[in-house]
């Protein structure tokens, strides 16, 4: 039996993405590659757009505890329960206005930009570190031109999407809000 020596396999897209990253390294390289990995996942698996990596706080300009992402999901990610009630009422009115039609309720909620906090499952967190992240982010991520677009009036607390990645590259997303926010009634 003979062993054939072959060329090493081509790099995975995510590998080359991380290797080609030329942005200034303000944090631990592991944190930069983590942010890139989450960005890649959101862009190609969940169809997010306008993804941007922040190393400094848009509020104070201070260095963030780790690189954070902002991005625009294809659909609204979070609908506050009170807003949901309003949306359902609006949808019901719209359906009644179009008489004779008995279609399903069409709930329209425009997508909003979200902050994303990349993390590895193996990490330990504390409330203090979580609070530091929240202190560094604005209520709504700014657009590319630095302006903040108007959002639904129910967006009253800061919220961050906690992206937790395991060693097998599975990423799970949880919405963390700063304060007591009543749950959604799905």
């Amino acid at each position: 039996m003979s062993l054939t020596v072959s060329a090493p396999p081509a790099r995975a897209p995510i590998q080359s993405l991380i290797a080609q990253d030329s942005s200034p390294k303000t944090h631990d390289p592991a944190l930069h590659s983590l942010a890139l990995q989450i960005q890649h996942n959101l862009q190609y698996q969940h169809n997010w757009s306008a993804l941007h990596i922040y190393t400094h706080s848009p509020l104070t300009g201070a260095l963030l505890p780790r690189p954070l992402l902002s991005g625009l999901p294809p659909h609204r990610l979070y609908v506050h329960p009170d807003e949901q009630i309003e949306l359902l009422k609006d949808a019901d009115r719209a359906r009644k206005a179009k008489e004779g039609e008995t279609g399903a309720l069409e709930v329209k909620a425009a997508p909003e930009r979200e902050w994303i906090l990349p993390a590895r499952l193996s990490e330990k967190w504390t409330l203090r570190r979580l609070a530091e992240v929240f202190d560094g982010v604005s209520q709504v991520p700014p657009e590319e031109d630095g302006k903040v677009r108007e959002t639904s009036k129910w967006r009253e607390t800061k919220r961050v999407v906690l992206a937790t990645v395991d060693t097998d590259s599975t990423v799970v997303y949880y919405i963390v809000q700063d304060g007591i926010v009543k749950p959604r009634q799905n």
Binding site: Y174, I180, V181
Partner: protein, 321 residues
């Protein structure tokens, strides 16, 4: 709804018995629930039917956290029930003691008489049903009817079955309450603040915001948090209290968040913010939008005896991605 019980005088005593915080007085139990969002758990069974534990009654056992907020806000005080009893009964005057014992004896004798009377009634009834012991009216009518019978006149009237003239067995009573004979313990005898677990700051924070807390074992957290009385509302949060620098695994956040979202709740973590901005007056916080009546009472907060560090909490829900 107008309560039909007399108003409870505050501060009210909480009995500390063998490490538990207990309330024995139903009006106080209702008062604590109605005005102070304190629910507790009913733990009392019938002493001679202790297996019958589907429906429990008084006493109400309070979680140490619940007892603590009541004491901190000046609504209640803790008394060492064993010491109060020892002291109260040992120092009772001879006349009071004799009067108390006589009272117990009388009640016991009354009970025995009642038992005998009922037994007699029962036996009367059975005899009547079997026709062995005609009722008074019946006796007259039968004697008239029986005028033509064979045994006319000869039969002497059936002698009344007399209750056996035994000496009454006294019933020994276990008194169900100690107040009276003891007078209500005074706040001057109060014990210190109850020992509480480290999740207490989050409990107190949620309590001041008008939430009701129940033990969280069912959902693997410290407290299930209800926006109103648990008899009327579903819970909103599964709350876990943490220290500000206490490390936790992200797996716990993921697990709690996923479980909470699965049961239409949010997972809530929070703790005392060390070196945070001092929130001077928690009563300035808005009432929950779903029930404006839950606004914390400003006066109550001012009466609070304890400096409160600010608490910061985070709600976690599954993002659905």
């Amino acid at each position: 709804m107008v309560p039909d019980t007399p108003p409870v005088q505050e501060p009210f005593p909480i009995s500390h018995v063998a490490g538990r915080y207990l309330l024995f007085d139903p009006p106080t139990v209702a008062h604590a629930r109605r005005t102070h969002n304190v629910i507790g758990v009913l733990v009392g069974t019938i002493p001679n039917l202790s297996q019958q534990n589907v429906f429990l009654g008084i006493p109400l056992e309070l979680q140490p956290e619940e007892a603590r907020v009541l004491v901190e806000q000046g609504h209640a005080y803790i008394v060492d029930d064993a010491a109060i009893h020892r002291e109260g009964f040992l120092e009772m005057s001879r006349e009071d003691r004799l009067a108390y014992l006589r009272d117990l004896d009388e009640k016991g004798a009354e009970m025995s008489r009642e038992v005998v009377r009922r037994a007699n009634e029962r036996s009367e009834q059975v005899l009547r049903e079997k026709g062995l012991r005609p009722s008074k009216k019946g006796t007259e009518s039968t004697s008239n009817d029986a005028g033509s019978s064979l045994f006319d006149g000869d039969e002497p009237p059936v002698p009344a079955v007399k209750a056996p003239e035994k000496k009454l067995e006294p019933t020994y009573i276990t008194p169900t309450t100690s107040y009276p004979p003891l007078s209500k313990p005074q706040p001057s005898h109060a014990l210190g603040l109850p020992e509480v677990p480290k999740s207490f700051p989050l409990f107190r924070y949620l309590h001041t915001k008008g939430y009701f807390m129940m033990p969280g074992l069912r959902f693997g957290c410290h407290y299930s948090v209800y926006p109103g009385d648990p008899l009327r509302f579903h819970s909103h949060f599964l709350a876990t209290g943490l220290g500000w620098d206490e490390e936790f695994d992200l797996l716990d956040i993921v697990g709690g968040g996923r479980l909470g979202t699965g049961v239409k709740k949010a997972y809530l973590i929070g703790g005392e913010e060390k070196g945070g901005k001092q929130v001077a007056d928690t009563s300035a916080l808005p009432a929950p939008s779903w029930n404006p009546a839950l606004r914390p009472n400003k006066e109550e907060r001012k009466k609070a005896h304890v400096e409160v560090e600010p608490v910061r909490a985070f709600s976690v829900e599954w993002a659905g991605l």
